[in-house]
C-alpha cells in the first residue's frame, strides 16, 4: 500500500513513464561521456562537446521543472518565483568558482575577484568567506534557497496566502532579488554577474572530460531527485499534499496543519531548484541577475504545463522539449519564439490539460479506463 522504504524498484512499479525516463538518464549518464571522449570526432557516433553542454543545460532545467511540479502538480502551489531559488543555488556555485580563479584573474589579485578590484574594494565581504571550500559552497547551494523558502513559505502559508495571490508575491520575491543582484554594492558582480570561471575542484572547466563529467553528474542528480520526489508523492505525505491541492479546508478539518505540509514541500522544492542552478552554472560558464527575471520563472511553469502537470516525468519531458524547441527557434526565427511559447501554453491549457504525457496516456489506454486526473500515478501506486 504505502512505500515507506526507499526502494527504487517498488517505487517505479506502476510509474511506466518514470521508469523509461530513468533508464534513459542512466544510459546517457554512462554513454554520452564515452561517445564524447572515447569515440573519435570523425565517427558518426561521436557526440560533440557542444551537444554535451547543451543537453547538460537542458537536464538542469528539467531538474528545475521537476521541483516546480512537486509543489504545483501535487500541492497546488503555483510558484512564479522558482527561478529565484535556481539562481541562488547558481550564485552559491558561482562564488566557489570565482574563489577558485585565485590570482589568475585580469588584475591578478589572489584574494579578490576582478569585479571587486575594479570597485576598489580592499577585502572580501564577510558573506564571501567560506566559499573557497567546495563542501561549504555545496551546503550553501542547499541552505540558501532552503532558508529563504522556509521564511517566505512560513510567512505566506501561515497567513493563508493561496492561489493567485501566492503566485503574485512569489513573482515579487524574484523581482526584488533581481533588482538587488543588479546592484554593484551587493558584492555579486552587478549586472555582469559571476563569470570567467577557470576550474572546479582543480579540473579545468574548458576540458572535455570535465564537461562530460558535469553532464553525467547532472543526469544522475536528475535521476536521484526524481526517485526522491516519486517516493515522497507515494507516501502518505504525498496523499496529504494531494488532499491540500483538491480540498484544502477538508484537509484542515481532518486535523492536518496545512501550512507545515506546504512549508516542507516548498523548502524541498527550493533546494532541488538550488541544486539545478548549481549544476547549471559551471556548464554555461556564467551566472548573472538575469536568472532572477520574473519571465524565467513563468517559463518553468509553462514547461510543466506543456509536459503534463502532476506526473513528475511530464515536467522533465516538457522542459526538455520546450528548451530544445527554444534553442532551435531562437536560432531560426528569434522574433517568433515568445509568441510560440505563449501559443503553446494556451493550446496545452485548453486542449491538453494533462500535457504531452496526457496525450500518450490517452493513446495507450483506449482499453483501460483512465481516471480523469493529473495525479493518476499516485493512485496506481496505491491500489
Amino acid at each position: 500500500m504505502t512505500n515507506t522504504a526507499f526502494n527504487p524498484r517498488s517505487l517505479l512499479a506502476s510509474d511506466v513513464g518514470g521508469r523509461r525516463l530513468l533508464m534513459v538518464l542512466l544510459a546517457i549518464a554512462i554513454f554520452v561521456p564515452i561517445l564524447n571522449l572515447a569515440v573519435p570526432e570523425s565517427s558518426v557516433f561521436h557526440v560533440s562537446t557542444y551537444t554535451v553542454s547543451l543537453v547538460g543545460k537542458y537536464l538542469c532545467l528539467a531538474l528545475l521543472a521537476l521541483a516546480v511540479d512537486l509543489i504545483w502538480g501535487y500541492c497546488g502551489i503555483l510558484s512564479l518565483g522558482h527561478g529565484a531559488f535556481f539562481a541562488l543555488g547558481g550564485y552559491a556555485m558561482g562564488m566557489y568558482l570565482m574563489r577558485q580563479i585565485g590570482d589568475r584573474g585580469v588584475y591578478g589579485n589572489p584574494e579578490l575577484p576582478d569585479f571587486m578590484v575594479f570597485l576598489n574594494w580592499q577585502e572580501l565581504p564577510w558573506y564571501w568567506s567560506g566559499f573557497e571550500s567546495f563542501g561549504f559552497a555545496m551546503l550553501m547551494v542547499l541552505l540558501v534557497p532552503g532558508i529563504l523558502a522556509f521564511i517566505f513559505g512560513l510567512l505566506a502559508f501561515r497567513s493563508r496566502v493561496t492561489g493567485v495571490y501566492f503566485s503574485i508575491i512569489s513573482q515579487a520575491l524574484t523581482y526584488a532579488l533581481l533588482l538587488a543582484f543588479f546592484r554593484n554594492d551587493m558584492g555579486f558582480g552587478g549586472n555582469n554577474g559571476l563569470t570567467d570561471f577557470k576550474d572546479i575542484l582543480g579540473f579545468s572547466l574548458q576540458s572535455d572530460a570535465t564537461r562530460a563529467t558535469l553532464f553525467s553528474l547532472t543526469a544522475i542528480a536528475l535521476l536521484l531527485s526524481y526517485l526522491l520526489c516519486r517516493w515522497i508523492v507515494d507516501t502518505k505525505l504525498g496523499r496529504v499534499l494531494i488532499a491540500i491541492r483538491d480540498a484544502e479546508s477538508r484537509t484542515r478539518f481532518t486535523g492536518y496543519k496545512v501550512e507545515y505540509f506546504k512549508v516542507f514541500v516548498f523548502v524541498l522544492s527550493a533546494m532541488i531548484a538550488g541544486v539545478a542552478g548549481a549544476l547549471y552554472v559551471p556548464q554555461v560558464g556564467i551566472i548573472n541577475p538575469g536568472e532572477f527575471s520574473p519571465l524565467n520563472s513563468i517559463e518553468i511553469v509553462v514547461w510543466v504545463a506543456i509536459g503534463g502537470r502532476g506526473t513528475l516525468y511530464g515536467a522533465v519531458l516538457g522542459a526538455l522539449l520546450v528548451n530544445y524547441a527554444k534553442t532551435y527557434f531562437t536560432g531560426a526565427m528569434p522574433e517568433v519564439w515568445l509568441f510560440m511559447l505563449g501559443g503553446l501554453f494556451v493550446i496545452s491549457t485548453i486542449y491538453l490539460p494533462k500535457g504531452v504525457v496526457g496525450v500518450f496516456q490517452k493513446f495507450k489506454s483506449k482499453v483501460a479506463v483512465e481516471p480523469d486526473d493529473p495525479s493518476i500515478q499516485s493512485k496506481e501506486a496505491a491500489s
Binding site: I232, L237, R250, F253, K257, D372, S383
Partner: protein
C-alpha cells in the same frame, strides 16, 4: 475568561456568541448546550446562521463576542481548525467535500485517527487494525465495492456518505454534520438517519437539516435557529406547534 454554569455532562457549551459580517449579524447572542452522547438536530430557514455556528465551533471563524467551550474547559476560540479537529471535533461540510483524486480507501486513510505531523506522514504505515477499521466503515457507508475507485467518481449522495465515513474513522467525540441528506434519495436519507442514530451515545452529534422527514427520523431534541439566535428548543412536535416557529417558517 471564566466559565460559568457548565453542567458536568456538557460536551459543548456555546454561550452568547455573536458574529457579524459587515454589520450584518449572522449570529446574535447564540447559546446552545450539548450533553455528552446527545444528538441535537438544528433547523432553521436559509441564512439563519446554522453553518456560521459550525464555522465558529470548528475554528474557521472567530466569534466577535461570547464563549465556545468544549469538554471540561477547552476554549475553542483559541485554536485553529486542525487543532480543533485533533481535540476531537469532526465536521461534515454542507457541500460534500472529499478528496476527489484519491481513492475512497485513501480518503479514509487520511482521516483515520492517528498522527498528523509531516514526518509521521512520510514514514506512515497503516496497521492491520486500521485497515480493518477502514473496510468496516466502507461497509457501513455502503461503499465497499468502490474501495479503490477515485472519490471524484461518486454521486453527490455517495460523496456525502464518504465524508460521513471520514468522520467515523476520525473517531471524534463530537460530530458536526451540516445538511447530510442533501442530494440523497428517500431510502438513502433513511439509512443516513439510522447511521447517525447508531453512533449517538458513543459520540455526541449536532445535525443541521432542512428535511423534516429526516429530522423526524432522528427522533431527538430540536433547536430552531432564526436570525442568529435560538428561537425554540424541544421535541419536534412541540417545536412545530410553537407559534413563533410557525410564524418564521410560514412568513408573517
Amino acid at each position: 475568561m471564566t466559565v460559568s454554569h457548565i453542567n458536568d455532562d456538557a460536551i459543548l457549551y456555546v454561550n452568547g456568541v455573536s458574529k457579524s459580517f459587515d454589520g450584518f449579524k449572522a449570529l446574535n447572542n447564540l447559546s446552545l448546550i450539548l450533553n455528552k452522547g446527545e444528538m441535537r438536530a438544528i433547523i432553521g430557514p436559509n441564512g439563519a446562521g446554522k453553518t456560521t455556528m459550525m464555522d465558529v465551533i470548528t475554528g474557521k471563524l472567530r466569534p466577535d463576542t461570547g464563549e465556545v467551550i468544549f469538554g471540561d474547559n477547552i476554549d475553542l476560540t483559541k485554536y485553529d481548525e486542525a487543532e480543533i479537529a485533533n481535540l476531537g471535533i469532526g465536521r461534515k461540510f454542507q457541500k460534500p467535500t472529499v478528496i476527489e483524486s484519491l481513492t475512497l480507501f485513501e480518503n479514509l486513510e487520511l482521516a483515520i485517527a492517528g498522527h498528523r505531523s509531516v514526518f509521521q506522514a512520510l514514514f506512515h504505515k497503516l496497521s492491520g487494525e486500521q485497515t480493518d477499521r477502514i473496510d468496516e466503515v466502507l461497509d457501513l457507508v455502503a461503499l465497499p465495492t468502490r474501495r479503490n475507485e477515485l472519490a471524484g467518481a461518486l454521486s453527490h449522495g455517495q460523496k456525502q456518505w464518504l465524508e460521513i465515513g471520514m468522520l467515523l474513522v476520525q473517531n471524534p467525540e463530537l460530530l458536526l454534520v451540516d445538511e447530510p441528506a442533501a442530494g440523497m434519495t428517500d431510502a438513502e436519507t433513511e439509512t443516513t438517519a439510522e447511521l447517525l442514530k447508531s453512533i449517538t451515545g458513543k459520540h455526541s452529534v449536532v445535525v443541521v437539516e432542512h428535511d423534516m422527514d429526516f429530522i423526524k427520523a432522528l427522533d431527538t431534541t430540536v433547536s430552531v435557529l432564526h436570525e442568529g439566535s435560538t428561537l425554540a428548543e424541544g421535541r419536534l412536535e412541540d417545536v412545530q406547534n410553537n407559534e413563533r416557529v410557525i410564524e418564521v417558517y410560514l412568513g408573517r
